[in-house]
Amino acid sequence: MLGRIKDTVEDVAETIKRAFVGPAVHSAPQFFIETPVSNAMLLPVASTLVAPLTISANISVASLLLSAPVSIADVQFRPLVLLETGEAFKANAKLVSIPLAWSGVVKFAEIPRMNAPAVRGVDDSYSVFKTEFYVLPQFSLKLEKTYKLNTSMNTPRCFTSVETALSRPIGIQSENVEKISKALLMRYTIQLVKETRENIRNLEIIGIYSIPKKGVRAIKRDASAGLLRILVGSEAQNSEYNKLMLARKKSDSTIVSCVVNPETE
């Protein structure tokens, strides 16, 4: 009996206790942070998320007054992207959505792994690195014209100047005395003796030379060459010839000469 009374009293006490207990206070989840915005909460859902998310929550006052614990399922989240300052999109990052434990969605920026660099073709936009062969017009190696150079020698002009040739002494060679017949040689010798009035035994025949009858300007004996040097004019070209006999006097070695004629006795 006493036990039943005790239980009854405890029930009453409990009832009174509950009747006068204040509304239930629940600590908010750690991830709720007050923001300047009323009734708005900032949710740092992930360190990789660059853009902060402000999530507003509607919490009914009635539920807070209830003694019953507030279920987290009652919290209504409305994800809202307020700002995206990162450069993720430049790095080919893509935003991925990951559902949270409660109703709502958090977006993550997923940065792709480093892939092997793409091999670009030569005709892509990086033409600055392309090597191409340009020939400037002024340095063109094309031969547009070919030239033919005449390498043959031109025929030189010719001049005539017999006077030049005649101005040089002409070397006259003696006839071969031994080839002359004895009779003819005797005839020549007699003419020489007559003209020089020398004793035939005192004369030594040097030679018999054919010289032009006309145009002879000078006569000189060249003993070293065995020639008679004569200087002639142009008249000598078509002139007939005389035979000039030269002899040396044995007595004084002087030279005597005589024009001899084969016809003359």
Partner: protein
């Protein structure tokens, strides 16, 4: 006089960078009948490069000699050139024999007019009594018969004149033209 053999003496010389030639025609005594000479020819640098060693023989034989011979109305019986010209491939005119003569240092041959053959185109000929024989060299391309025929003329002319002497005269005359300001008359 018209039956006399006509002897031609051709000389081409180099004076500085230019070449010029002279041609002396004499009678059988060596008296000048005609003398022609060319204006100096100066080959260009390109021609010198292109012709190389063939330049000088070409100028002497094909250019100067031909130009001078064109001017001669009556062809010579013998044409004498310098010995050095025959050492190369000197152009041979078939109209008349080309040869060179030079006084030798050999012992005289027994008789005047005697010849001794040294090679296929070279002979010694005794033209004057007691003197050293004359060395005669024929140009390439002359047959034995042509050489013999030419030797008869050589001996005939050599009895009356020194065949080597007019060559010196031609050279002197040509050199004198270079250094004188004689106004030439074109022939």
């Amino acid at each position: 006089m018209s039956d006399e053999p006509r002897l031609a003496y051709f000389v081409a010389i180099k004076e500085g960078a230019s070449y010029l030639g002279g041609l002396l025609i004499t009678n059988s005594l060596g008296i000048p009948i005609d003398f022609r000479y060319t204006e100096p020819i100066t080959p260009t640098k390109l021609q010198s490069l292109l012709y190389g060693k063939a330049l000088e023989p070409h100028l002497r034989g094909d250019v100067i000699q031909k130009a001078l011979l064109k001017e001669i109305k009556t062809p010579p019986d013998l044409m004498f050139v310098r010995m050095s010209d025959l050492a190369g491939d000197f152009a041979v005119e078939n109209k008349y024999p080309i040869l060179s003569v030079q006084r030798s240092q050999e012992q005289p041959l027994p008789t005047q007019g005697a010849t001794t053959r040294i090679s296929s185109r070279e002979l010694l000929v005794q033209l004057s009594e007691g003197a050293s024989p004359l060395r005669v060299l024929f140009a390439h391309g002359l047959t034995q018969a042509e050489q013999d025929s030419a030797m008869e003329k050589v001996v005939q002319a050599g009895y009356q004149m020194d065949l080597a002497e007019p060559m010196d005269r031609t050279l002197e005359a040509l050199r004198s033209l270079i250094h004188t300001e004689e106004k030439p008359k074109q022939g």
